[in-house]
Structure formats: structure tokens, C-alpha cells
């Protein structure tokens, strides 16, 4: 793998003619696209694309693809739902799912879809509110003002979600107003074996052969929602080599604007520790799966998530370990600092910002482990603990004024919080116990057996015993129990003897204290000073820049284009026929029966997957790839291995988005799955000729 990183923006200037940038819809460089590709998106075009795009609140992208609320996303984005609807006897992950009639479309227990209705710049209001403040006062005021703006925007309407989005590390604040769909049903999903063909070994690799697609439908008042005004039509032929492509989606996070002190923290502390922890967890879950087929089934989703994060983190770490790349980042920061230093007024305003961030980062090194295990660790390790903590904290937080609450309990976030808290998604005690024991033993390892918090949590128990006891004894798997405690408030929580609630109560004072320490001494300092650096960048380089990704809607442009890897040219488009060459019969290279028996009727030359130069990152999974006519030509499901360094910088020579080709979707819906109902919605009239049946005789 070659990493070139000839990145214009590294030096702070606006990208030249590279297809770089995850652009906001209110600052899209249409003129630049025209200059390179001869097509200039109009405001109307942008509005239509924005409103046809969708976000899965859980962390993915999607799009509306029919007038009747049909939504397309990745299989791996919907697999939480698919797994939750499965049981040991009806395994939709293994066997796929298809609702032959609308009545068979099944509600996902915990899924929410958002559509971005408007963007408002609220920078001035927030800057005014926080002027002259720092530390705790700055953090509290910012939080309170954000909550106020969000609340007044949603105005108590449960169908509206409003988020203040921090852009350019605080250089801008925009209020994003979403329409929310909370009744989301599963329509069609292929088998996991083809959705994730090649599994972890092929993940982030190309050439690739995955049908990573799932169709959902949003409902309103028990009926398919009307999306006739804004949805993407389906292209006739799909993406072609060299064609201009746009990707509209929700890149989760990039760190291109971070200071060197922050990048060093990523490189030397956060990433190495994360990589070790994920590696160990992966080893544990992979072996847990060998307990039996049911244990494998219930832990597949978790294993996928862990392996995916692990590979992505590895790629990021390698990018930062690239000495040339890092030197470019250092040079860019030095250039900006020099410019700031040379201007007395700028120096006064911005000159100290970098060192302030470095100091905060240095401080954080000393208590990162405490922060991790007291505030974050257990929460991520167990659904039951998450529920218990939410109930324990909710009882306290919801008594406070909106602006005083912990951020996740702000009024605007309540519908989301309740949806997750009362989700009927199954909870698997065996897996909960294993994960919680794992995290408790890591806590003891990292903080040390003599640490007061460790002694407080474990007492005389081993991590395994404690985990088994609190999982076994807890009644929180029952949604009604949660509802009663939630409604019962502080008194009910105080009186509860549920061992998971008791554990959450036990750790809460320490968890809150370390969170406060983090928010006031680290986060607030970094936020405030990042805001200053962002302003310095605007002053020095102008506003024709894109902000780091923040899981808010962005538009990127590029074209279908191969690249060179280890001296070899990689062609941009794979074909369906070659999918079968890769079949070994052994997981993860085992095709499902439906594919094997359809091999002869498929048109082998149908494009399967393709790469394009669009600048994307995790969170963009499920994003539509569209042509200049706003038609679907593909579905993003991955980036190549080189794209992982995109967290820190974009290198057009090798950084690629990886998508399912629109024609592969059509071909398989038609000839493998006989999914006429879906086909007819995507391409009205296309199913008048009955789909050809699989014919082993050829």
C-alpha cells in the first residue's frame, strides 16, 4: 500500500482541483465542480438532493428511493434491526428477508431515520453568549445556549429533531432541523453471506464483490410515508468509468483540523490503546462464538462492529505513523502559526490557542484511563448497564432545568433517548455477562487492583462473578420494568434493588466527577481554543473550506476511477461473474445458495462494485451515489484501505469510496430474489416482463 498524501488542504489553503472535501450544503463549491467536470449544481438541485438524503440516527446514511417512503441503505447499517427481528429459529441475518406484501414489512425495534429540512447559521448567537468566558462558565453557557436553540427549534414537536452542529472546530455553529421518522420497517435484505462476502479479510479492500444493501420503509400513522416530493430516481445504466459522481451522506468524524498536540495524542495514546483493547475484545468474541451456533448468532453483530472499528483504527494509526504525512501536518501548523505571530492583532487574539490545547491534552493524558472506565467503559460494555445508568441519571437530570442537564438529557434529545431506553430489542444475558466481565477486568488491569474505584466496584468479587450476578439478577431486560422506573423517577430509582441499578448508582458519583473534570478542564479548553484557531484560518485562508466531518449531511463530488496499488493498476469496476470465482465454500467466502443456484441466469458482465474518488469516511455507509441528474448510480458501503487515512487528510491518488453498483442491485433483485415489489418501486414498469427463474441447466 502506498500512501502519497499530496494534500492541498494540509497546508491550510483551499483544495485546488482535487476531489477533496465533505462539503456542507450551504457552502458547496459548485463553481469548482463546474471547472473540473463541466457541471454546476444549482440551488434547486442541491435542495432536492439534500431532501432525498436520509440519516440513520444510529450512525449511517441512507436515501429515499421511491415516492412511498422506500429507503435504501447498507445491510451492515440495518443489521442491528435484522438481528433484533431474528430468533434462533428465524435467522434473517443468515437467510435474508423479503416482505412479499406490504403487510409483511416488519418494524425495526430501535431505528430512527432523519431528513434534513433546513440549516440555519447560529454562530453569532453562540459567540455572543460565550464572549469573554472560559472553563466551566464557557462550557456551561455554550451547552445551555445550544439546548435553548435546539428546544426552541423543535418546539416540542416529537416529529422534529434539532441539533446545533459545531463546524470548523467551533469556527461556525449551524442549527440542523430534521424531520424524524421513528416507524421504520424492514422490507428486503439479502443474506449476510453476500452482503458481507469476504468478511473481515475483504473489509476495506478492493476489488470487492458485496451486495451490501437493505431496503427499509418509513411509515407515518401506520401507512407508508409520502416521500413523493423528494426521492432519488434510479439511473438507467448506473455508474460508468470516468463519470462524475456525487455522494450525499453523513461522514461521522474526521480530524483534519486538529492541532499537532491533538494528533500526537491520537497517535501515541488513544489509537494504540484502542487498538489493543479492540484486538483483545475481538479475540474474546471470536472465541465466544465457538460456544455454539446460538452464541455465534447473538454475537455476530458485535463482532462485526469490533472488527470494523479495529481495521479502521489500524488504518488511521498507520496514516499518523507515516513520517512524511505527519511532517506535512506539522509544516501546515507552523505556517499558520507563523502567519498569526507576524500580525500583532491576530497574535493577540489567536497566538496562545495551540499551546492551550497542548496543555489541556497533556492534562488529559493523566486521567484518560479514569475517564474511560468511570464514565464510558461500563456504558459501552452492557446494554443493561446503559439502561440502568440512563434511568439513574434520568431520575436526577430530568428534575433540572433544560440548560443545566447533562447534554444527552436535553429536551431536544429526549425522544431519541426514550426510543433507545424502551427499545424492545432483545438483550442476551450470556453475551452481556461476557462483555461486562471483560470490561471490568480491563478496568482492574488499567487502573490497578489497588485503585479505590476498582475496589469500590469489585469489592471482594472477581469481574466474572460481579458481571454474572448483576446480569442474572437484573429485571431491566423487561421494557415494562424500565418504563416503571422511568416514570417513578428519583423515588423509584432510590428504592430499586435491581443489582444493575445498584451498580449504576454505585459508580455514578465517580463517573460524574471525572466527566466534569473532562468537560471543564479538557473539552471546554480545546473547544474554545479550536474556535480561535478556526477563526485564524478563516482570516488567513478565507472561507472557501470544508469543515471536519461531524455526522451531519455533506456532499462530496468525484468520479469513477481506478488507482495504483503496489505498482499494479486496480480497475474501478468489478463484475458479477467474478463473485463466483471468489467462492470457496468456506465462510466468509461462501456464497449463499440463492446465488449459487442463480449463477447461470445472471448476466455475468453486470457491474458489481466500483470505486470513485469521492471524499468519504465512516458514517457515509449507506449513502446514495448519484449522477448529475440526481439519479442513483450506486450505494456507498465502504472505503478502500487507503481511505482510512482520510481521517487526517485526503489523497486523491489512492483514496477511494467503494460502492455497490446500481445495476448489481437491480440484477439481483430481479433474478435472485424475485423482489418484484421493490423493483417496481425503483424502476416503475420494469417488472412487466416476469423475472427469469433460476435454471441450473443454463
Amino acid at each position: 500500500m502506498k500512501r502519497l498524501f499530496l494534500i492541498a488542504t494540509l497546508l491550510g489553503a483551499a483544495p485546488a482541483l482535487a476531489d477533496e472535501g465533505m462539503w456542507t450544503y450551504n457552502n458547496f463549491p459548485s463553481a469548482k465542480v463546474k471547472e473540473k467536470y463541466g457541471f454546476e449544481p444549482t440551488q434547486q438541485w442541491l435542495d432536492k438532493v439534500r431532501l432525498s438524503s436520509a440519516r440513520l440516527a444510529g450512525g449511517c446514511s441512507a436515501s429515499f428511493v421511491s415516492p412511498e417512503g422506500l429507503v435504501m441503505t447498507n445491510h451492515h447499517c440495518a443489521r442491528g434491526c435484522i438481528q433484533q427481528l431474528s430468533t434462533a429459529k428465524k435467522d434473517y441475518i443468515a437467510n435474508g428477508f423479503y416482505a412479499k406484501a406490504q403487510a409483511e414489512e416488519t418494524k425495526c425495534p430501535a431505528m430512527e431515520i432523519n431528513q434534513l429540512e433546513s440549516i440555519t447559521d447560529v454562530t453569532a448567537e453562540l459567540n455572543k453568549a460565550t464572549q469573554g468566558l472560559s472553563g466551566k462558565q464557557y462550557a456551561d453557557t455554550l451547552k445551555a445556549k445550544m439546548s435553548e436553540l435546539e428546544q426552541s427549534c423543535s418546539a416540542g414537536n416529537a416529529k422534529v429533531r434539532c441539533d446545533v452542529v459545531t463546524l470548523y472546530q467551533g469556527g461556525q455553529y449551524n442549527l440542523y432541523k430534521y424531520r424524524r421518522f421513528q416507524d421504520v420497517r424492514l422490507v428486503m435484505a439479502p443474506e449476510h453471506a453476500i452482503a458481507f462476502f469476504g468478511g473481515d479479510p475483504d473489509n476495506f479492500e478492493f476489488p470487492r464483490y458485496d451486495l451490501d444493501v437493505t431496503f427499509l420503509r418509513v411509515y407515518e400513522d401506520g401507512k407508508p410515508a409520502d416521500t413523493s416530493k423528494n426521492y432519488f430516481k434510479w439511473s438507467e445504466k448506473g455508474a460508468k468509468e470516468g463519470e462524475l459522481t456525487f455522494i450525499s451522506g453523513h461522514p461521522g468524524r474526521t480530524s483534519r483540523g486538529l492541532t499537532i498536540a491533538e494528533l500526537e495524542f491520537h497517535r501515541d495514546v488513544q489509537l494504540p490503546k484502542t487498538l489493543m483493547q479492540l484486538s483483545e475484545l475481538r479475540g474474546m468474541i471470536a472465541e465466544f462464538q465457538k460456544r455454539g451456533p446460538e452464541q455465534k448468532r447473538i454475537s455476530n453483530n458485535l463482532l462485526f462492529g469490533v472488527e470494523n472499528s479495529l481495521k479502521a483504527s489500524k488504518g488511521r494509526h498507520e496514516a499518523l505513523l507515516d513520517k512524511k504525512f505527519f511532517a506535512q501536518k506539522v509544516a501546515a501548523e507552523q505556517e499558520l502559526r507563523k502567519k498569526v505571530e507576524s500580525n500583532p492583532e491576530m497574535k493577540k487574539k489567536y497566538g496562545a490557542a495551540w499551546d492551550e490545547i497542548a496543555k489541556a491534552q497533556e492534562q488529559y493524558r493523566n486521567f484518560r484511563t479514569e475517564h474511560l472506565f468511570k464514565e464510558q467503559g461500563l456504558n459501552g460494555a452492557s446494554d443493561l448497564f446503559y439502561i440502568a445508568r440512563t434511568l439513574v441519571r434520568g431520575a436526577e437530570e430530568l428534575q433540572k432545568e433544560n440548560g443545566q442537564r447533562l447534554r444527552e438529557f436535553s429536551q431536544a434529545g429526549i425522544p431519541n433517548l426514550e426510543a433507545r431506553l424502551f427499545s424492545p430489542a432483545p438483550i442476551y444475558p450470556e453475551l452481556e455477562t461476557a462483555r461486562l466481565a471483560f470490561t471490568l477486568s480491563k478496568m482492574r488491569e488499567e487502573l490497578g487492583a489497588d485503585h479505590p474505584f476498582v475496589k469500590k466496584v469489585l469489592g471482594k468479587e472477581s469481574p466474572e462473578k460481579l458481571a454474572a450476578r448483576v446480569v442474572k439478577g437484573s429485571k431491566l431486560a423487561d421494557v415494562k420494568v424500565r418504563q416503571a422506573l422511568y416514570k417513578g423517577g428519583q423515588a423509584a430509582v432510590d428504592a430499586s434493588k435491581d443489582p444493575m441499578i445498584e451498580l449504576a448508582k454505585l459508580v455514578d458519583p465517580d463517573a460524574r466527577a471525572v466527566r466534569k473534570q473532562f468537560e471543564e478542564n479538557v473539552e471546554a479548553v480545546i473547544r474554545k481554543n479550536s474556535e480561535l484557531i478556526a477563526k485564524a484560518k478563516f482570516e488567513v485562508y478565507g472561507t472557501n473550506q470544508y469543515p471536519d466531518a461531524t455526522f451531519s449531511l455533506r456532499l462530496s463530488y468525484g468520479s469513477v476511477k481506478g488507482y495504483t496499488e503496489d505498482g499494479k493498476q486496480v480497475a474501478p469496476i468489478t463484475q458479477m461473474a467474478n463473485t463466483f470465482d471468489r467462492h470457496t465454500g468456506e465462510d466468509p467466502f461462501a456464497l449463499p445458495q440463492s446465488w449459487l443456484k442463480s449463477q447461470n441466469v445472471l448476466t455475468g458482465s453486470t457491474p458489481m462494485n466500483f470505486v470513485s474518488t469521492n471524499d468519504i469516511i465512516g458514517g457515509n455507509s449507506g449513502s446514495p451515489v448519484i449522477n448529475k441528474d440526481g439519479e442513483i448510480v450506486g450505494l456507498v458501503f465502504d472505503g478502500n484501505i487507503q481511505s482510512l487515512g482520510g481521517e487526517y487528510g485526503f489523497d486523491e491518488s489512492v483514496n477511494r469510496a467503494v460502492s455497490v453498483h446500481s445495476e448489481a442491485i437491480i440484477e439481483s433483485l430481479k433474478k435472485i430474489y424475485g423482489a418484484t415489489r421493490v423493483l417496481e418501486e425503483l424502476r416503475p414498469g420494469s417488472t412487466k416482463v416476469p423475472p427469469v427463474k433460476a435454471n441450473p441447466a443454463g
Copy 2:
């Protein structure tokens, strides 16, 4: 944890008065010890200590502690043997072992003990042989000459082992001649629960409460060997705070003399990758243990090894990530290079060495993964594969002239190789399968599913299927089968259909090719140029330096002394009474019954463990700690967490060796284990008063 690293030798100069250095016996700084501690070891003193020291060929240190061949080492050094002698019904790991009579002393299946009889400087001979050579020629000639020297030293005597030891990265070559003992029997071992009390959470930590001791005995001709001329007597009171202590043992490896290019490789490539792989393996084995008690028993030893390496590697990585520390290393190299550059003659001889090493290191980055999986990976993953490869290669290598063979097949190494190859130690198929499958899946992951070597090895099988097939089908667990193949030579190996032999044959051409590439293009270049740098250091700084550790006998000096950690003073000696405070009843903080029922009869103030400033590292485990009278005052079993950075530099302010106090050994042998036979040997006459029996009434 604070890391200070005010290290004299970092700057290339000889250490000032810090207790730094793992000194060779032929260059011990006696005068410096006298200057600081008022005691000057004589040649006679040094000879006696050297000959009373011992090495476990498997990777630990030990000492002779009686005239009749009694050997003391750590429990964790002998646990391979203890586990091999155990069965599901007689678990000596869990329950301990004590041979009440000599006849009950049981032979360890695969243990060899070495005693260093002499050291000869052979630098001139080797330099002469390799003069003017480079690359393959240099490597081949060096290897051949080393083999020749070793062979002529041992002269076919199976009781003699000779190793040419490369010191100062090639600045010196010394021939170490050992007496070898291959009949080693288990005499006494406490329960694992007290030997490794605190388990992994307490590993590399202090304060500490472990009885990590085991007694062995070397036999000759079926009788206890006569060691009456050279053995350590037992001190009357053991180590006291402030007392001068010597540690004679076999530190395995340090990397203090490496160039910056090599250290960067450690920091950015080798350690991060090792940490991830060990973490994942750890997660896997820890979960494997949950398959059942027998699976736990058979995998405990492996898990211990993995966790120990993992924690040690973490410590090393953290040391290299310490920016100040690394800057000191850079400054030291720059200083030396500047001195070399400023002298035309030195510049000509040595000036290019650093860049040559950097280039070789850079080259290695491109094929490290191949090297790892083709040559090393499978070998470390399965005992059966190791046996198969040794047989496959042996058939070919043993036909060659001694100097032409792969190093491990040189005549001098044959007794060792055969001892391992024909060891009757049990092989556990379930664990073999799990480990091999794990490594095969890592191979596929790291090299990629499309890599020709991966395709060749896996074919259409999954890693799990392949591993299960070759382990299940192999007969190599039977020592007789191995002997027959070994004796049968090439013809027998060629004819063998044993699936593990077939796998070893399949991978061997690729493995040999990558090994050759490594040895000629990387190792030889680094060796040759390191030799040049070492000579430059001698020219610039003189010869009053110690070489990096090489698992050869060294002597370090220091004193019993506490240290400061996170602002708190850590006392240097713990007491037996506090061991019981740490007991929670849950593994790894559960004391064995023998201790619990003896609590009342123990003298609580007896020293348990202690720290000293001696400079040690992994491989020193089992080393005797002696006073100036050459008496045992303790037994090294660990270093504190700060000592892990000792791989790269010594910081006397916090770097500590951790030892079992000699009095804790006596007290427990007497009052807990009633091991009168051992006690009488350690302290003749001490058991005339019968041992006090445990008395629960106090």
C-alpha cells in the same frame, strides 16, 4: 507512573555512579562498586559467583543452592515442567509439589540447565574471517566461523555447550562454554495461587506478595550432581534496606545500543503490531479457558506467557513513546555521529553505518509481515508444526556441512534441538487447533486473502478447518513417530503423508526464501554496521561500558531501596502478614488453603518481597540476589512497571528489580510446607527443632 530517565549511558559515556549495567563477568566494574558501596569484588569472588549461577536453557536464570545439585529458580520458570508433569487428576500447578523423599523427585520432560565454565574472547578470529566482506558473504562466513568455534569448543562432548555470544552489537564476540545438565528433576513447588498471587493485575507491580519459587535438582548418572565446589550459601537474615545486592543472571535482551532507525522501527512497527496480536491472542485464550476446567488447565501456561509478554511490550512501547526519553536517544546518537564526522579517519570507517542500518530497516518494513507469517508465525503457533518443520528441515540440513546449515541445526545446537524434538511433554490437540487456526486467520488477514502464499496454504479451506484437519490427522504427538522420521532422514520425510509434515513441506520453500532475504539483506547489513558503530563507541568513549543483554550471564549491583510513584513513597520491603490483607477469595487474589490455615503460625513481620536498584530485565527471572558474602538474600522474579523501559535505558530513580525475600522462602518451607528435606539443604542444621504445626487456635 513517572519516567525520568536521567541516564548517563544514553549519552554514550560510561555510567557515572548509577547502579546501571548488566555487566559481563570479564569486564565487571569492581572499582566503581567499591567507590559507591565500599566493597570490591575480587576475581575469586566473581569466579565463585559465576560458577554458582545457572541458566535454564528455556529462558530463565537459576542458582545452585546446595552441595547436592539443588537448584533454585522461579515457579514461573519451572511451570512448563510442573504443567507437563500434571494431569487432569494430579494438578501440581494448582496443588503444588513436594518430593518428601529423593526417590519422589520427578524428571522434567524438557528442561536443561547450564553452568558457565569459561569465557574466551574470539573477536579477533571472527573479525579476521569476515574482513572486507558484506551481505550474503559476510553472513555466511560469520555463521560458518561461529559454528566452527562452537564445535571445536564442545568437541563432541554432549555434556558441553558452547555459544559464540555477540556483544556490543558485534563490537565483541565471546565464546561461552557451559556445562550442561539435562537430567533435571522437580523437588518442590508451591501452589500457583501463591507463586503468582495477584496474577496478571499485579504482574510488574509493587508492593507485591508472591512466593515465586521452585526447587529443582540436577542429576548425573542417575544421582544428584555434585555441586559442592560452587553453590550459594543461604544468608542468616536476608536482604535489608540499604544493603548492597548483586544479581547474577541471564538478562534476555535489551536494546539500549540500537540506532534511532531501529528504535523507530520498534516504536512504530514492531511493538504496535506485537501489542495488537498479543492482545487478540490473549482475548482468545482467556475465552478458550471458559470451555471447561481441563481447557483452563492446559492453556494456563500459554495464557501466562502471553499476558507477561503483553505487559512487558506495553511498558517498552510506552518508554519509546516518551518524547523526552526519545529525544535523549536522538541526542546521544547525534553526538556520537558528530564526533565520528569530525575525525576523517573515523568518518571513513564508520560514517555510513547509521544510514546503512536505516536503509536495511526501511527495506524490512516492506516484507516484515511475510517474514513473520512464512518463517516464524506457524512455528510459534503449534508444537506439532514446530516438530514437523524441524523434521522436514532437519532431513535436509543435516546432510549439509556444519557451516552451511541453518543456524539452529549447527552441530553445537543438536543436543538442544533433539531434547526439544523428542520431549515427551504432552501436546494438547484442542489447544493446538485453536492456536493454529488463530495464526492462520491472522496470516490471511495480514497478507490478504488474495496473497499467493495464503492461497497456497489455505486452498479452499478455512483457517479453522485446515487447523483441525492437520492436528487431528497428525501422529507427531507420538515421540516414537518423530524418532522414526528423524532417523529415516530425507527419504522418510519425503514419503510421509502426515498432514502436519505435508503442511511443513508445503510452506518450506517460501519460508526459506524469506528467511534468506531477511538474513542477507537485513540482518547481515545491520550486524555488520552495528559492529562498526560499536567500534566507533569504543574509540570515542572507551571500553568501560556494558553490552546489551543477550541471554548470557551478567552481574548487576545495586541496593535495597524504595522509590517514589505518583508522588508517593513506595517502601522497599513487604511483609508476610499483608499477603493476607490482599486475599479476596477470588482468583487471582485467592490464597491457597495451605496459607490460610497457616496464617496464625507465621511470623507476620517476616519480609515477603523486596525491590532493589539492580539493573535487570526479562530472562533474569530466577536469578539469585546475593550479598557481598556471596549468600542468598533473595530470588528475582520480576521488575516493577518502570523497569520495562529498561529495554531502552536505565533510570535508577524508579527502575527496580522485584525479588522474593530469602526469609519468606525459609518461613514458608518451614511452617507452611513442612519441606524439611529442602530446608536442611539450604540451612544445614536448621530443622533440628521440628517445624511448628499450623494451629488455627493461634
